[in-house]
């Protein structure tokens, strides 16, 4: 229960930060991303996994990260996010963050974990640590791009952090539905990251207080 609350808390905090940037009446974009068919392999739990196939990293069952590209003012405060290690898995499997976000990696398992990444945007190695590690190991992600997280001890653990240059992003549900709120009016490009090899996009024009229905396919 507690990790989930943490996670929700983090999300809410992120949204609050982004929402507070807008001066005018914020607009809303909602819609549906057409997702690729999932792999045939039965998924025992309903949580998705990060799958790297043929050098392409994608979540399975497929979800997308929908974000809005454009010019945004710099963040007032450093955003903070959390990537948990729980039940020998990363939670969430996919974490979009804005550039400059400090991501904490608390270990909630009664065993050691060793989070590291060889990804170009952010190479780091937190070393082995347990749940009682203080302070909670963290990394600041200041280069946009895809960062694959792994655990040195548990080879199957995999997660991605998508470092984005936007405060507006959301992870769709497995049906591809999303909603972005609190957007200042203006011209943007709406993008949906489906995998490391596939990103959908569409230009959008948002009026004051508009409520836009956009489907990406």
């Amino acid at each position: 229960m507690i990790p989930r609350l943490h996670f929700l808390g983090a999300m809410v905090a992120a949204f609050c930060v982004s929402g507070s940037v807008a001066a005018a009446e914020p607009a809303v974009i909602e819609g549906r991303v057409t997702l690729p068919a999932g792999r045939e392999a039965p998924v025992l739990n309903q949580r998705y996994e990060i799958v790297s196939k043929g050098g392409v990293v994608a979540p399975n069952p497929p979800v997308a990260v929908v974000f809005l590209a454009g010019d945004f003012p710099a963040a007032e405060a450093q955003p903070v996010a959390r990537m948990l290690q729980k039940d020998l898995a990363f939670e969430p499997r996919i974490l979009p963050v804005r550039v400059g976000t400090k991501v904490e990696f608390p270990n909630l398992d009664p065993t050691y974990h060793n989070v590291f990444s060889y990804s170009k945007p952010k190479r780091f190695d937190l070393g082995r640590y347990r749940a009682d590690e203080e302070p909670v190991p963290y990394q600041i992600f200041d280069t946009p791009g895809l960062v694959t997280l792994r655990c040195d001890i548990h080879e199957h653990m995999r997660a991605v952090i998508l470092v984005l240059e936007t405060p507006h992003f959301v992870v769709t549900d497995t049906d591809g539905r999303f909603q972005l709120t609190g957007i200042a009016p203006g011209a943007y490009t709406l993008k949906a990251w489906i995998s490391s090899a596939s990103t959908l996009e569409r230009a959008v024009e948002l009026a004051d207080g508009a409520r836009l229905e956009v489907n990406l396919e």
Partner: protein, 593 residues
């Protein structure tokens, strides 16, 4: 006998030589057959023992190889699953691949500072390692070659595969330079954690195991392409052996040949060479294990066994020779004796034949003389009697003279009777007398003989009794049977007491008729004379006043025997003398009447 043995008769000597030769021949054949059988048996036994030993050693080596391979592959698999290696490959960080592997493989790879490869070979430590990318090409280590194990570029190039496979590929790579050695490499696929697909491969290169069986002397080496490495075999012999091996690489397609074995001479010794594919089905070029199994020990054993058999065979032959010599001597001795005896016997027989011939001629002559004499005598006696009877018939002689003449006439009758008997005897002796086998009524004959006896001038007053069953028939000729009977009765009368008895009895039993003639005797026949009474002209110590010439009993016996019967003396004691004559019954002796 001594002299007979020292110079054995020629036939016996020949027999002995032949027997010896035959025995020796048989012995030689038997020994040769036994030799062949035993040698074949030993050779087969040796071959089987060798086969077993070879198979056992090979199995052990195979087991070592398998276990080693399993251990190495398992280790490589564990390495290939490491998260950092996956991260380096999957997350586009090839620059971090070898450094990451260095950490992970630290204990799997021989430290470069240990220069002596033999020391590293004991441990399951790799000589080098390289990664292959998804396409099977070698990912070169970035500068820090020492960490990944030094490898000449041309060998590094040989690690490449046409593509990474799901399965571990075993390969053997050899340097172009001969004597560079062979490395055993395992290309272990690095599989995607999520999809299970091979995304790269980790190639670990090891020094091949040094498989040598100290006890049996088996050494195992590796042949790949034109490189053959066999521990302990000098280069010249290695090159020689390589030339003998089937050229598998010449065949395009690289279908690895199956196991092969052959015997060959190398380095002045015989070896059993066994070769089998080491990495069938591998994407790497085919390599073969080449095992050398020394046959020297087995050949020495076989030679020793062969010598033993030959020795035993020679001993056997010598013994056999001695034995057959003895045997020939033993068997030829009776032959020599036989030959000698037969020689003596021949001589004796010839002499006996000659004597027999002489005797027979003499006998013939005597019989003829006897017959001639009898004939010659009969005529004058008859003439004499006729003359005497004529004188008597004229009546011109006085009475007392007439009585004398009558007595003389009586003597002429006796003389003729004796002559008759002699004539008959001479015919019997000459074998000219043939007796008919007619039916003779013995009872009738006895009755008429008794009549004659009664009629004879007799002052003794004898009492004659006859106990003869009627119709007693015998087989014979009437006149001779009558002669026998007459002789016996005559004797019984002549040698009787005054007022004595004569008893005649006859009976028939089992096809024979027995007739006894008994009488009281003046004097018994003395026991010492009894065996001789049937001899011719024997008259015992009887009273000289009793007339006779000692022919009667002899003639009677000869005639009885001619009739298939016999005449013998039953008893002769103080008061009774009894003869028995036997005949054949008439019906029993005539199968066809």
């Amino acid at each position: 006998m001594k002299t007979g043995r020292t110079q054995a008769p020629p036939q016996a000597a020949r027999f002995r030589r032949r027997l010896l030769a035959a025995t020796m021949l048989l012995l030689c054949a038997l020994t040769a057959a036994a030799f062949l059988v035993v040698r074949r048996g030993i050779a087969r036994g040796e071959a089987q023992a060798l086969e077993r030993e070879f198979a056992a050693v090979l199995d052990r080596l195979q087991a070592v190889r398998q276990m080693r391979r399993a251990a190495l592959v398992e280790r490589a698999r564990a390495l290939a699953g490491k998260a950092r290696i996956h991260a380096a490959i999957e997350d586009g960080a090839l620059d971090l691949l070898y450094p990451s592997a260095l950490d992970e493989l630290r204990d799997a790879v021989a430290p470069p500072r240990i220069a002596d490869p033999a020391a590293a070979a004991g441990a399951l430590r790799a000589r080098f390692y390289r990664f292959l990318d998804r396409d099977g090409s070698v990912i070169p280590p970035p500068g820090g070659e020492a960490a990944a194990g030094a490898l000449p570029p041309e060998l590094e190039a040989r690690l490449a595969l046409p593509g990474v496979s799901q399965h571990v590929q075993t390969g053997y790579i050899a340097g172009a330079r001969s004597g560079a050695g062979v490395s055993e490499v395992f290309a272990t696929p690095i599989l995607s954690t999520e999809t299970g697909e091979p995304i790269a491969a980790l190639v670990l290169g090891f020094e091949p195991p040094r498989l040598v069986s100290e006890r049996s002397g088996l050494v195992a080496g590796i042949r790949v392409g034109d490189t053959l490495v066999i521990p302990g075999l000098d280069p010249a012999a290695t090159a020689q052996l390589l030339a003998l091996l089937p050229d598998d690489d010449a065949r395009s397609g690289g279908a690895a040949a199956g196991a092969r074995r052959f015997e060959t001479g190398l380095d002045g010794a015989s070896w059993l060479v066994f070769t089998q594919p080491l990495n069938p089905g591998s994407l790497y070029p085919p390599a073969h294990e080449v095992c050398l199994f020394p046959l020297a020990a087995m050949q020495a054993r076989q030679r020793r066994a062969g010598l033993q058999i030959v020795g035993a065979g020679a001993g056997l032959l010598a013994l056999g020779f001695l034995g057959s010599h003895r045997l020939a001597a033993r068997f030829s001795r009776p032959v020599a004796t036989l030959e000698l005896e037969s020689h003596e016997q021949r001589v004796q027989r010839r002499r006996a034949e000659a004597e027999l011939e002489a005797t027979s001629a003499e006998l013939e002559r005597a019989a003829r003389f006897s017959a001639d004499a009898s004939h010659q005598l009969k005529t004058p006696v008859t003439v004499l009697r006729a003359g005497l009877e004529e004188i008597l018939a004229r009546g011109a002689v006085p009475t007392h003279e007439a009585e004398e003449i009558a007595a003389l006439i009586h003597q002429t009758y006796r003389l003729s009777s004796v002559i008759e008997d002699l004539l008959l005897l001479s015919r019997v002796d000459a074998g000219h007398l043939r007796v008919a086998a007619d039916e003779v009524d013995l009872a009738l004959l006895i009755a008429s003989s008794l009549d004659d006896l009664d009629a004879s001038p007799d002052e003794l007053g004898l009492e004659v009794t006859a106990d003869v069953p009627p119709a007693l028939r015998i087989s014979g000729e009437r006149r001779y049977v009558a002669l026998i009977l007459q002789n016996l009765l005559e004797n019984a009368r002549k040698y009787n007491l005054p007022g004595g008895r004569i008893r005649i009895a006859a009976s028939e039993a089992a096809g024979r008729v027995h007739l006894t003639v008994g009488n009281t005797a003046l004097r018994p026949i003395p026991p010492e004379s009894q065996p001789h009474i049937f001899e011719r002209f024997h008259r015992a110590a009887m009273g000289e006043n009793i007339p006779g010439y000692g022919i009667g009993l002899n003639l009677a016996r000869e005639l009885a025997r001619l009739h298939g019967g016999d005449l013998r003396l039953l008893r002769s004691d103080a008061d009774w003398t009894e003869f028995e004559v036997s005949f054949r019954s008439y019906p029993a002796t005539r199968p066809h009447p």
